[in-house]
């Protein structure tokens, strides 16, 4: 199991990775566990990867509206997967900086 403390990761005060290239899936799983998500299912990954790929392609994380429309996971399911806030958690687990949009 990846121990985040033994890695030299650049994270902000809330735990968001500041350098997406430091990320790998093992780190994602460890961050998810920190956030109270014990098991990352294929659906969780679908959201986190969409989040990450959109950020890497556009330099900005998608809004919750875009997540619901384009990630292949509906808004309802997004909140079931990530009850503490889908956009924020998927960004954290996907290894990208904290999203700044209000929507």
């Amino acid at each position: 199991m990846t121990d985040l403390l033994t890695l030299d990761l650049d994270r902000d005060a809330e735990g968001f990775l500041q350098q997406p290239e430091q990320w790998n899936r093992e780190i994602g799983i460890a961050i998810a566990r920190e956030c109270g998500i014990a098991e990352m299912t294929a659906r969780h990954w679908q959201v986190c990867e969409f989040m990450r790929n959109t950020y890497l392609a556009n330099g900005a994380a998608p809004s919750i509206r875009t997540l619901g429309k384009e990630s292949g996971v509906t808004v309802k399911e997004l909140y079931q997967l990530f009850p503490k806030g889908p956009a924020k958690l998927a960004a954290k687990i996907g290894g990208i900086p904290k999203p700044h949009g209000c929507i």
């Binding site: 998608p62 809004s63 919750i64 509206r65 875009t66 619901g68 509906t74 808004v75 309802k76 909140y79 009850p83 503490k84 806030g85 889908p86 956009a87 924020k88 949009g101 209000c102 929507i103």
Partner: protein, 169 residues
């Protein structure tokens, strides 16, 4: 002569408790009065905060299926717009300004009101209408969006809001 000193900031204040629940009241019926409440409610859900939205008085237009798709920016009596009152009153000006706002909102990925309410409901925000207003305007549940959970009294609203923050808009 006595000199005034700046008040000292308390640096050893305990960390404030995070907000866990908000109940937002939307009481006005123009485009620019409805959006802030919706954005605040959605923002709460995005932070994992429980959110209730209570629509009252003209704010209820936002959940009225005959009206919520065509809500307009108030171009008269709205000094923030910096439009002369006579200009704001001309036919079509309100529609034009509303179109401009809609375009800017779309750029920020902020949905139109009916879609926004769906998004809120899917996010787990609970939507309520005010019973006194419903009675006064002779409306029924059929006039409202299907996502409306219930028509409730002020007393029920306070019960539901217990333990959280109340935001009036």
């Amino acid at each position: 002569m006595a000199t005034l000193t700046a008040p000292q900031l308390e640096t050893d204040r305990p960390t404030p408790t995070p907000i866990e629940k908000v109940s937002i009241i939307i009481s006005k019926g123009s485009f620019e009065s409805v959006y802030p409440g919706l954005i605040m409610a959605n923002g709460a859900r995005m932070e994992g905060i429980e959110a209730n939205v209570f629509f009252t008085f003209f704010g209820m237009d936002a959940i009225n299926t005959k009206r919520n798709a065509s809500m307009k920016v108030a171009t008269v009596g709205n000094p923030g717009l910096h439009l002369p009152t006579w200009l704001g009153a001309l036919p079509g000006v309100s529609a034009l300004v509303t179109r401009m706002f809609n375009r800017e909102m779309e750029k920020l990925d902020i949905p139109p009101i009916p879609e926004f309410l769906e998004l809120l409901s899917d996010s787990g925000a609970r939507l309520f209408a005010c019973k006194a207003t419903v009675d006064m305007f002779h409306l029924t549940k059929k006039d409202f969006i299907p996502q409306l959970e219930d028509i409730i009294t002020v007393g029920q609203f306070y019960e539901m809001a217990a333990g959280g923050e109340i935001i009036f808009t």
